[in-house]
């Protein structure tokens, strides 16, 4: 996962990641019509939610812009993705 300055995170296709437009097509085919920009916004909104939730649980107030900046960072996104993958593996083992 990489990011050039002031841009959004780009993903490595080899790991099965999809482009915004590809995701928009899949979601639209499944009945949830959206375009690539919406996909990007949904992803960032999701990560921002996590940032805000975590900071709230730690008792600190974080501004929307700050939360958005953290959510946009590849380091944060990579960490969350790793946690999700680990959680998946854990759940698989439980089954």
């Amino acid at each position: 996962m990489t990011r050039s300055t002031n841009k959004y995170v780009s993903v490595n296709k080899e790991h099965g990641s999809l482009k915004y437009r590809e995701i928009a097509n899949i979601m639209s085919a499944d009945g949830d019509k959206m375009n690539h920009a919406t996909v990007r916004n949904i992803i960032l909104r999701g990560f921002t939610k996590i940032v805000k939730g975590v900071s709230k649980d730690y008792g600190s107030v974080i501004k929307d812009e700050e939360a958005f900046e953290i959510a946009k960072s590849p380091e944060f996104q990579q960490t969350i993705i790793n946690i999700i993958k680990r959680n998946d593996a854990h759940n698989r083992n439980k089954l």
Partner: protein
């Protein structure tokens, strides 16, 4: 090995005393005309110079025998390229080729990774500039200041700092006073019990907050990063399919 090479060269050095300017000129002229004997004579007469320069570049991590061989290769190049008509003394010309060969060899063999010569040279300039800067201003220069002072790009300075970092053998560092290797002296990279607890707590908080994602957000994030299953331990990936 060192002694063998130096001894074999010693006899050549003794049998071929230093040449006068006229002799060099004549030999060089004969070489241009295709004389192999003259070529051998000029090479053998300058082994002394090759050994002398090789000794100057000798360091602990580079065998002297290898360095002497490299400097002899440089000497041969110099003999082949020397132009007697320009009026220069052969040793003046040859020493640059010998130095070049030695430095090239050192550059390629002194570290595990091969670093391009220009990058290594830049690194030397950076080091010299840093020393000057600390003397004058009493602090380390920033990368921007280095790039400005040397007239190179910031990226070049950053890359040079990264690629020319010194590497230490983790098994080295034993001496008479301390029998432990460097690896044994480094602090453990494992988290302390306190850090482990804090990490676990953070993980728990993050996992809890992952549940706040809507199904739609989760689906999109999973598609984006190529994760197939649901984050909910009890649920399937609802409504959305990752295959088109």
């Amino acid at each position: 090995m060192n002694f063998f090479i130096i001894d074999s060269l010693k006899s050549d050095i003794e049998n071929n005393p230093l040449l006068t300017r006229e002799e060099e000129f004549n030999l060089s002229r004969q070489i241009k005309e295709g004389s192999l004997t003259a070529r051998e004579k000029l090479i053998a007469s300058n082994y002394r110079l090759a050994v002398s320069i090789a000794k100057k570049y000798h360091r602990d991590n580079i065998p002297l025998s290898d360095l002497i061989q490299e400097s002899c290769i440089g000497l041969i190049k110099a003999v082949d390229k020397f132009d007697h008509t320009l009026g220069n003394k052969f040793s003046t010309y040859a020493c640059w080729w010998i130095k070049q060969s030695c430095l090239q060899y050192i550059n390629e063999h002194s570290s595990t990774m091969k670093v391009p010569t220009h990058s290594r040279l830049l690194s030397l300039k950076v080091r010299a500039m840093k020393e000057d800067f600390i003397k004058n201003f009493g602090r380390q220069p920033t990368e921007e200041e280095i790039s400005e002072a040397l007239g190179v790009t910031l990226n070049a300075v950053k890359n040079s700092n990264q690629t020319n970092a010194r590497y230490l053998n983790i098994d080295s560092g034993r001496n008479d006073d301390d029998d432990r290797s460097l690896g044994e002296k480094i602090d453990s990279l494992e988290a302390t019990p306190e850090e482990a607890y804090l990490n676990k707590e953070l993980l728990r908080v993050i996992k809890k907050n992952l549940q706040c994602l809507s199904t739609r957000e989760e689906a999109v994030i999973r598609l984006r990063f190529g994760i197939k299953e649901s984050i909910y331990s009890d649920g399937e990936f609802p409504n959305y399919r990752s295959d088109k």
